[in-house]
Amino acid sequence: MPCTETLRTQEYFDGELDASASVEVERHLETCGDCATLLSDLEATRRLIREQASYHRADAPLRRRITENLRREDGDRPGVGRFVGANLRFLSGAASGSAATAMAAALVMFALVPPPASPLVGDVMNAHLRSMMSDHLVDVVSSDRHTVKPWFAGHTDVSPPAVDFAEQGYKLVGGRADYVDGRRAAVVVYRHGAHVINVFAWARDGETLPASASRNGYRFVFWRQGNLDFGAVSDTGRDELLTLARLVQKASGP
């Protein structure tokens, strides 16, 4: 008949017993052959598993997907309130009436009321954050439009204007090929003071563009021009982002 203390011996092996209980088990082990054998079997089995069995680690793509899922979930959490608030402030600014704000109003026109959790906002934000974190801000470094624009022609599906607006405070840093919502996008990168602004452009496909938005401290402006959809993102203030959007609009021509 097997010893009734085997579970106790296992507890001892697993470090689940306090000092005095451990001493009791050790005393028992001196006289019980069953439990002494069990203890050495337990040690052997543990060693076998820890030395030979595969430990499956989460690989880098899975880790990236998870942090992106969390980012997206986090961004969607504030829900409709933020969007509405941003739009109302935006509209009241546009209503103050000047040539410049007429342009801003044009931007609003393009920004048809979106589903509140438009995946585009999350995607543009993720692409922006990726570019800031991964040392992959630009593929082609240049403040020369004659360098950046032809580079796009060879590396992306679209070729948006890449104009340096250094005089207006927006220095052209370079260009990058990226993806937004699964579509290939050309990105024109600007520096405005300490801030980086990514201006994404992709071939329009009829999808409703989100309203300009604010999420997690980042600002977003979307607009449509010709056969391109644009999305600008940065941690600048909203007005600074709008100013650049207007400059890009103007440079793209009517």
Binding site: D14, E43, I49, T67
Partner: protein, 182 residues
């Protein structure tokens, strides 16, 4: 990044390997450990406000386990439905690819390691999970009880059974009895 997400990532991401290893040891095709872990992390993040304490590992692993059970229940429900025509069967990449796409596959496993993995994976799930949590994750009985929802006494008896079955399987596979080093 919101403060809530920052806190969640700081506490949860260190246990991502443990979550994935458990999911890999629990999931059987067509279930996919990647999907289970992604779902579990999202659920955990949504429920983060209900988490109390300073050790997130058992809480997180219990969510992984529940996600697996939910997914498992779904596939069983599907299996009981009439079989779709061949054309509708979603064989996916996994159904067609014979080789394990896991990067670990590139690491040459010893014959012994493969055999041991197979023996572990053939253990009934309730034994397999306590074995993985104790021997691979080094978790206490109390934490294992939290993950599995079983009382500590049950954890102890399942663990004893799992170890005995593993040892039998190992010897039955013609391997030399594992021996301790002293």
């Amino acid at each position: 990044m919101s403060d809530r997400r920052r806190r969640f990532e700081a506490q949860a991401l260190p246990h991502l390997d443990a979550a994935y290893n458990l999911a890999r040891r629990l999931a059987r095709p067509p279930l996919d450990a990647d999907d289970i872990v992604q779902e579990a992390m999202l659920r955990a993040f949504r429920a983060f406000d209900t988490f109390r304490g300073d050790n997130m590992k058992p809480w997180l692993l219990s969510i992984v386990r529940n996600c697996h059970l939910t997914a498992f229940g779904r596939t069983r429900a599907k299996l009981e439905a009439p079989l779709p025509a061949d054309a509708e069967l979603n064989l996916g990449d996994r159904g067609l690819i014979v080789d394990d796409p896991d990067p670990e596959a590139s690491v040459i496993h010893t014959q012994q390691g493969r055999q041991l993995n197979a023996i572990i994976d053939r253990l009934p799930a309730e034994f397999r999970e306590v074995l993985v949590l104790r021997e691979m994750e080094d978790m206490s009985y109390r934490d294992i009880a939290q993950v599995t929802g079983a009382p500590i006494g049950t954890v102890m008896s399942r663990l004893a059974r799992a170890r005995a079955l593993l040892r039998q399987g190992w010897i039955g596979a013609g391997q030399e009895a594992p021996h301790a080093v002293h």
